[in-house]
């Protein structure tokens, strides 16, 4: 059974990568260096029409794909609405700034607690601290449901409402757990779930790293080290 779990989890990240490629065909995330060049070419072609900065490709890597951004914007706009090009670019920049802003706050907390890995809980905590209170509850529901699907046993073991509240409690517990270095219980099925989560997380991370050849070595190294942080991560969730 333990061997079966890794395989099932291994497929999910791979599937995600494929779906990402399909979904963002206009902004591919290739796995080989040669394709990377081609992808960059595509981006350059699209970008040259709109911008003329010297390091175009590198700069665009710091923004979300503009097609995705526009698609999301149109969800909340009336059909007759038009969006100027400078507005599209401004939203792109705002999104990157938002990610950096929240990540910075989450990372500060990690460092205070002497942890190396930024977790979903750290992100949610940072959003709450920075005033994005409206975002925390929907995202808590979202990440709980995501975990239920990621781990089949999760669905069987707990329902959504208890999970939601448990998450809040988990946040409280997580604040102190890592600093004390308390290991979670292992002899029961709960421990099995824990192992499954750790392996799943590790697999996903590894696959994500392999998705970018330019950092494959570093990614591999991070992946090997990530086994322990992933373990801590799950401990916080309890």
């Amino acid at each position: 059974m333990e061997r079966g779990a890794p395989f099932s989890h291994y497929q999910l990240p791979k599937s995600i990568s494929e779906l990402n490629l399909d979904q963002h065909s206009n902004n591919p995330t290739p796995m080989t260096s040669s394709v990377v060049v081609a992808g960059a070419g595509d981006k350059n072609n699209g970008i040259v029409v709109q911008q003329q900065p010297p390091c175009v490709a590198r700069e665009q890597d710091q923004y979300m794909p503009i097609a995705n951004v526009i698609r999301i914007m149109r969800k909340t706009l009336p059909s007759h609405a038009k969006i100027s090009d400078d507005a599209k670019e401004t939203i792109q920049e705002c999104v990157s700034e938002y990610i950096s802003f929240v990540t910075g706050e989450a990372n500060e907390r990690c460092q205070r607690e002497q942890r190396k890995t930024i977790t979903a809980e750290d992100i949610l905590w940072a959003m709450s601290k920075l005033g994005f209170d409206n975002y925390v509850d929907p995202l808590t529901v979202f990440i709980n449901r995501y975990r239920e699907i990621e781990t089949d046993r999760g669905s069987a073991l707990r329902g959504e409402p208890p999970s939601l509240r448990q998450t809040y409690g988990g946040n409280g517990i997580g604040f102190h757990g890592p600093s004390h270095g308390l290991p979670p219980p292992g002899p029961y099925g709960y421990g099995m779930l824990d192992q499954s989560m750790v392996m799943g997380g590790g697999r996903y991370y590894q696959n994500g790293s392999s998705g970018q050849d330019e950092s494959s070595v570093g990614g591999g190294s991070s992946s090997s080290i990530n086994g322990m942080p992933a373990f801590d991560h799950y401990g916080q969730y309890k």
């Binding site: 999910l12 995600i16 779906l19 990402n20 979904q23 902004n27 979300m64 794909p65 995705n68 698609r71 999301i72 914007m73 909340t76 706009l77 609405a81 038009k82 969006i83 100027s84 400078d86 507005a87 401004t90 939203i91 705002c94 999104v95 700034e97 938002y98 990610i99 950096s100 802003f101 990540t103 989450a106 990372n107 190396k116 930024i118 977790t119 979903a120 992100i123 709450s128 601290k129 209170d133 409206n134 509850d137 929907p138 995202l139 529901v141 979202f142 449901r145 995501y146 975990r147 699907i149 809040y168 799943g200 997380g201 996903y204 994500g208 998705g211 991070s222 080290i225 990530n226 991560h233």
Partner: protein, 231 residues
């Protein structure tokens, strides 16, 4: 209404900015009344209030809809935004070491919500000016009117902010300000700054992060003028 909504969501929620903006809007309109022509002001005031109420309702519906959409979500493999790109942006900060697999997943959804909220607030300004094209200065207006978007002030050029500030003041009210070329964000003595108790963020638990722009007081001073319609 807002309190009830958050009461259902969770105890840790605080009051949201859009609802607290309404009192400020009324105050600003009242003050502007003293400086502008009564007839012209009445029209602006009514239009502005309607626009603000519409925005508040849209935001409430937006957040309710978010919960519904998430509860209906069954496909967690298709994200609106590429996870690899999110991770790369997170890693742009050299202090960031390792990122759990779930962090980019949460960000993908959070950024979608962020884009939707910012677009909704920006479009509100577009409609105020009776346009159908969302422009950069609409985003600038949304940023200046929303406290949680303070971190974006550096993203929006000052030119757009200046247009927003000056544009929101009815023409003829402060011709000296425009002619004299007062420093950015400075309001002449004729337009007295107003305290904005309604704008206070209900976040007693944590210290609000220091604003690197050091512009918070200026925003509060400018806030009363925002509701006025551009001429």
């Amino acid at each position: 209404m807002d309190q009830q909504d958050h009461g259902q969501s969770g105890a840790m929620n605080y009051g949201t900015n859009p609802y607290q903006t309404n009192p400020m809007s009324t105050t600003a309109a009242t003050v502007a009344g003293g400086a502008a022509q009564p007839g012209q002001l009445a029209f602006h005031q009514i239009h502005q209030q309607q626009q603000q109420q519409q925005l508040a309702q849209q935001l409430q519906a937006f957040w309710e809809n978010q919960f519904k959409e998430i509860e209906k979500t069954t496909d967690f493999k298709n994200h609106s935004l590429p996870l690899a790109r999110i991770k790369k942006i997170m890693k742009a900060d050299e202090d960031v070491r390792m990122i759990s697999a779930e962090a980019p997943v949460v960000f993908a959804r959070a950024c979608e919500m962020f884009i939707l909220e910012l677009t909704l607030r920006s479009w509100n300004h577009t409609e105020e000016n009776k346009r159908r094209t969302l422009q950069k200065n609409d985003i600038a207006a949304a940023v200046t009117r929303t406290d949680i978007f303070d971190f974006l002030v550096d993203i929006v050029p000052r030119e757009d902010l200046r247009d927003e500030v000056l544009g929101s003041i009815p023409r003829g009210t402060v011709p000296e300000a425009a002619a004299a070329g007062y420093p950015y964000g400075y309001l002449p003595a004729g337009t007295a700054p107003i305290g904005n108790p309604g704008m206070v963020m209900g976040n007693p638990g944590g210290a609000y992060p220091p604003n690197p722009y050091m512009g918070q007081p200026m925003w509060q001073q400018q806030a009363p003028d925002q509701p006025d319609q551009e001429n």
